[in-house]
């Protein structure tokens, strides 16, 4: 199995892009992260991660049309590529497999 290297934050950003389905750009991604995880992240972090993900080929981007609300400035909209979704699925699968291996009692005990 080919290993996909995705950091924790990268994984979250990639998931957000997948969730937003075509509406993902800097603002929406950071807002979603804030809302869903409660983490306050700087815009720079998101921006850098998106660029990195694009360099790795997990997302692709294009400039959207100009809208009046941001002073006519275009958005860069991100989409998950086939490689990206494959990577997410791999991770999901790996996690599921690992979950299966956890003995049923351990987690309950430690959870107490």
């Amino acid at each position: 199995m080919r290993r996909t290297y995705l950091g924790e934050f990268e994984e979250i950003v990639l998931l957000m892009v997948a969730i937003l389905d075509g509406q993902a750009y800097g603002v929406t991604v950071s807002q979603e992260i804030e809302q869903h995880t409660g983490r306050l992240v700087t815009f720079g972090t998101v921006h850098n991660t998106l660029i990195r993900l694009e360099e790795k080929g997990f997302v692709k981007s294009e400039l959207g049309g100009a809208t009046a609300e941001r002073g006519g400035r275009r958005k860069r909209l991100f989409r998950v590529t086939a490689l990206g979704s494959r990577a997410l699925q791999d991770i999901q699968q790996l996690r599921n497999e690992l979950w299966q291996l956890v003995p049923p009692n351990t987690l309950k005990l430690s959870g107490l």
Binding site: T45, H47, I51, E69, K75
Partner: protein, 898 residues
């Protein structure tokens, strides 16, 4: 936050302005748009949720997070393929455009090629000369540790530095100085007669020490440096000499006889050494031990007979200053008498605290130090002058190139504009235009090299040089010339190309860029050009005047109608002289015949030697030239006696110890009545003394630059006569030469006939100055020519651009003359500025040069006025060639074009 406490802020005012500016300034350009938009949107979102201060704060924080060094840069992905500038299609396009351009501007290209090739040709010659001189003695291994010793004396009459050393000095040096690794005495003078199996050769046999072979890096081809000169009867011969004397035989072990009748000596060849290179200060055909010289036994403990040069190699740890410091006590120990005499004369210590000292000259500098190298070297200033002239001429040609390229660049501005709007990058344009100019430079360079090859013969005869093409193909020289070429292309081609590549495409295509205003750069360059050429012109005229002035200086003897005949070593001078006297006794066209040991001027055998006599006369140190002559010397050279009489065969004692002296020597002796006074050394107890029988005016013996020189003429039978002078009747110079040539075969069959006229020989004394003034005049005329060539082309361009103006002026009623004045005025102004720069420089430089001469001209202001006037006239004439044509043009033609 309570919105009521906040003044209602305009939502559109948005985040803090300065933060935004910071973002725009520092954020990478290719992601600025989206990031700025995103941040604005986020600001609005924060503002809605948390109010202005919170929003501003978060905005600021986030701006910081997208600043370098935190921000990641998005890689630029170019959607269009970027073909390389070396794509075959691009190159084809470049070549096509280049050829079209060249074809359209054939005239300018020709001017450039001619200018550059002439300049390159001249430079090649000058740099060749300079390179040869500067690499003198550079081939020795450890050359930086080799020095020649010289004696310095701070004589109040004349500070003297001389390379002549006494024989005991070198052994003493080696014994007392551990830092002297090796030391060799080098004695060379006249050619010696070498005999091998009945064949005779004139060769330069140098007397030296065995250390010679290890001190210098002349490679031994046969034999070992340790033993080759171990025996007093060993001789090491050069490769060439081995070939000429022994042919194909193996010379090692063969016997050679060296010397003339009385002191012939036999030597065994013990080794073969490579020829001394052309650029070596030490020249030889063969080496023998210095102990074999005739006077060695007499002089080996004499610290006052200076006869040879000494070279030392010091150990790597020692340095020159330290050794010189250690030489001070050494000099005081062995030259105490000399120092006493100097002090008595009132000599003061110089700035290094010495009245008299033994000092060291670096081997690399020996060639340029005429005092130390017996006047054989070249003054280093002359070398720099040559390089300077070469650089001048090259820069004049380069300036032409730059000026024309810039002037013409505006006609090509459209091409640049179109190329730029089609996506050409600045670098591509630069390389394109630059390589076009490099191509022209290259053609100029190649033509220059061809010219050099063709003119090499002429050059060699004019400057008595022996350059061959192979000489120019040394790696060092090739590197030098390649460097020159590179600099020229970089400067001459690079600057205009850079200018053109900078054109703003939009302005060019709108037609806004034009050459309405003459560039400051162009004017500055024209000024530089003319300043250089008028500088050279002034220097030339002054140099020629000085040479003329020196020629007119009286030499002290009548040099006309005298034939000088070098006897050479293969015949006995006295015998030849006797036979010649007999043959010519009854010839009415021969007025007088005499013999001497020293030729006057530079004869065909190019040999000079010198014999001096130093003595203490009534407590005063006197040094005089000791000149061997024969009867009728004064008559042959038309010297007038001031007092006393000439040598006369009637007095037997004349040929033993009587002398005729020059006025200067008579003055030095300070006798009220010089005739009848005796010259003798105070310390000499043997009673040898010479009676003065006559006094003649001072005359020049070695150079015209000689100042009044004490000379004593004597008739000793013990010394050999080397030259015969014959005075012939004025009407029959050429015939006499032929006749003497005939007779020469009878009287001296074994010696080559090398007769020449004395006045030609004396001209050889001015050879350096003559060569220099020739180089100067050549350089000055070429510089002037090139400058005018450039001005010619520039004037054409400028006037072409002003056709319409001229048409309008004519329509408004301007006369032809006034138009010519308007057109020429600008150029004349430039030339005048150039003159204002050049003349003071020329005056200053030539004053310095003239200070070297005892007899010198005063620089007249008229020279500068004349040069100035001529420069202006020449510039005017050049410009008027076009301006007259422009002024005469029918205005209808020039104005109708629109």
């Amino acid at each position: 936050m309570n919105p009521a406490n906040q003044p209602p802020r305009n939502r559109t005012s948005g985040p803090p302005r300065w933060a935004k500016r910071l973002l725009r300034w520092l954020h990478p350009a290719n992601t600025l748009e989206e990031v700025e938009g995103d941040l604005d949107e986020l600001y609005a979102y924060w503002y809605e949720r948390a109010g202005e201060p919170q929003a501003s704060l978060r905005y600021l924080l986030n701006v910081l997070s997208v600043m370098p060094p935190f921000v990641r840069r998005r890689q630029q992905v170019n959607p269009y393929p970027q073909p390389s500038s070396f794509h075959p299609d691009m190159i084809r396009s470049y070549v096509k455009i280049a050829l079209r351009n060249l074809w359209r501007s054939k005239g300018y290209a020709a001017v450039n090629v001619v200018g550059l090739s002439v300049a390159f040709c001249i430079c090649l010659f000058l740099f060749l000369v300079a390179y040869r001189q500067l690499t003198f003695d550079s081939f020795h291994k450890d050359g930086d540790r080799i020095f020649q010793t010289y004696l310095f004396a701070n004589d109040p009459e004349r500070v003297s530095r001389t390379g002549g050393m006494p024989l005991p000095l070198t052994p003493a040096l080696k014994a007392e100085f551990p830092e002297v690794e090796t030391a060799a005495r080098v004695m060379s003078g006249r050619l010696s007669l070498v005999e091998y199996r009945g064949k005779f050769f004139d060769k330069m046999v140098v007397q030296t020490d065995p250390d010679f072979l290890t001190l210098f890096s002349f490679p031994l081809i046969k034999g070992s440096p340790d033993v080759a000169l171990r025996d007093l009867s060993s001789i090491v011969v050069s490769e060439t000499m081995a070939k000429t004397v022994f042919g194909n035989e193996d010379p090692v072990g063969k016997y050679l006889l060296i010397g003339t009748e009385s002191n012939k000596k036999q030597y065994i060849v013990s080794g073969i050494i490579a020829d001394s290179p052309d650029n070596s200060s030490v020249r030889y055909d063969a080496l023998v031990r210095i102990e074999t010289t005739p006077n060695y036994q007499n002089d080996k403990e004499n610290w006052h007979a200076n006869s040879h040069r000494t070279f030392i190699k010091i150990v790597p740890e020692a340095d020159q200053a330290a050794v010189e410091a250690r030489l001070k006590p050494f000099a005081q120990k062995y030259f105490a008498g000399t120092i006493q005499d100097l002090l008595k004369k009132g000599a003061k210590p110089d700035d290094r605290g010495d009245v008299f000292a033994i000092r060291l000259q670096k081997l690399a500098n020996v060639h340029f130090d005429r005092d130390v190298s017996d006047g054989k070297g070249a003054p280093i200033a002359l070398i720099y002058v040559l390089i300077g002239i070469g650089v001048f001429i090259l820069s004049i040609a380069s300036i032409n190139f730059i000026n024309m390229s810039i002037a013409r660049s505006f006609t090509r501005a459209k091409e640049v504009g179109v190329r730029k709007s089609l996506g050409a990058l600045k670098n591509q344009l630069f390389v394109q235009i630059w390589s076009e100019s490099t191509f022209i430079c290259f053609i100029g360079f190649v033509v220059g090299i061809i010219l050099t090859c063709l003119l090499l013969g002429t050059f060699n005869t004019t400057f008595q040089a022996k350059f061959t093409l192979s000489y120019a193909f040394q790696p060092g020289f090739i590197a030098w010339m390649a460097g020159v070429f590179l600099v020229v292309t970089l400067v001459a081609g690079g600057y205009p190309a850079w200018q053109m590549a900078r054109f703003n495409a939009v302005e060019v295509l709108k037609g806004k860029v034009s050459l309405k205003k003459p560039g400051l750069v162009r004017n500055a360059l024209i000024v530089t050009q003319f300043a250089m050429s008028s500088l050279l012109a002034c220097c030339t005229i002054i140099a020629i005047q000085q040479v003329d002035h020196m020629r007119r200086q009286p030499v002290g003897f009548d040099k006309e109608q005298v034939i000088s005949l070098p006897v050479g070593n293969q015949a006995n001078g006295r015998q030849v002289l006797g036979r010649l006297r007999n043959k010519l006794a009854n010839d009415p066209t021969v007025l007088a015949v005499t013999g001497t040991s020293i030729n006057l001027g530079k004869g065909k055998d190019r040999v000079t030697s010198r014999s001096t006599f130093g003595f203490t006369y009534k407590g005063k140190q006197i040094a005089t030239d000791w000149l061997l002559v024969d009867y009728d010397y004064l008559k042959t050279l038309n010297m007038k006696l001031l007092a006393g009489r000439d040598f006369d065969p009637a007095y037997a004692a004349d040929s033993i110890n009587r002398v005729v002296v020059t006025e200067s020597l008579a003055k030095l002796i300070n006798a009220r009545q010089p005739v009848g006074a005796f010259i003798r050394d105070d310390s000499d107890t043997t009673g040898t003394k010479s009676e003065i029988i006559g006094v003649v005016p001072d005359f020049k013996l070695y150079s015209v630059a000689d100042e009044a020189r004490p000379i004593a003429m004597h008739l000793s039978n013990r010394e050999d006569i080397h030259y015969i002078f014959v005075r012939v009747a004025p009407q029959s110079l050429a015939q006499s030469m032929d006749k003497i040539k005939q007779i020469w075969r009878e009287v001296a069959p074994q010696a080559e006939f090398l007769g020449s006229f004395l006045d030609e020989n004396v001209d050889g004394w001015y050879q350096n100055e003559e060569s220099m003034s020739q180089i100067f005049s050549l350089a000055a005329s070429i510089a002037m020519l090139l400058s005018c060539l450039g001005l010619f082309a520039i004037a054409l361009l400028v006037i072409e651009q002003r056709t319409k103006e001229i048409g309008i002026r004519k329509v408004m009623g301007a006369s032809v003359a006034s138009i010519i004045i308007v057109l020429s005025r600008d150029f004349v102004k430039l030339v005048m500025i150039a003159l204002a720069i050049a003349i003071p420089l020329a005056w200053f430089g030539m004053q310095k040069w003239l200070d070297n001469y005892a007899e010198r001209i005063t620089i007249s202001i008229w020279i500068f006025l004349a040069v100035g006037l001529v420069s202006i006239l020449v510039a005017l004439a050049t410009v008027s060639f076009h301006s007259v044509k422009a002024a005469l043009m029918n205005p209808v033609k020039s104005l109708r074009s629109e």
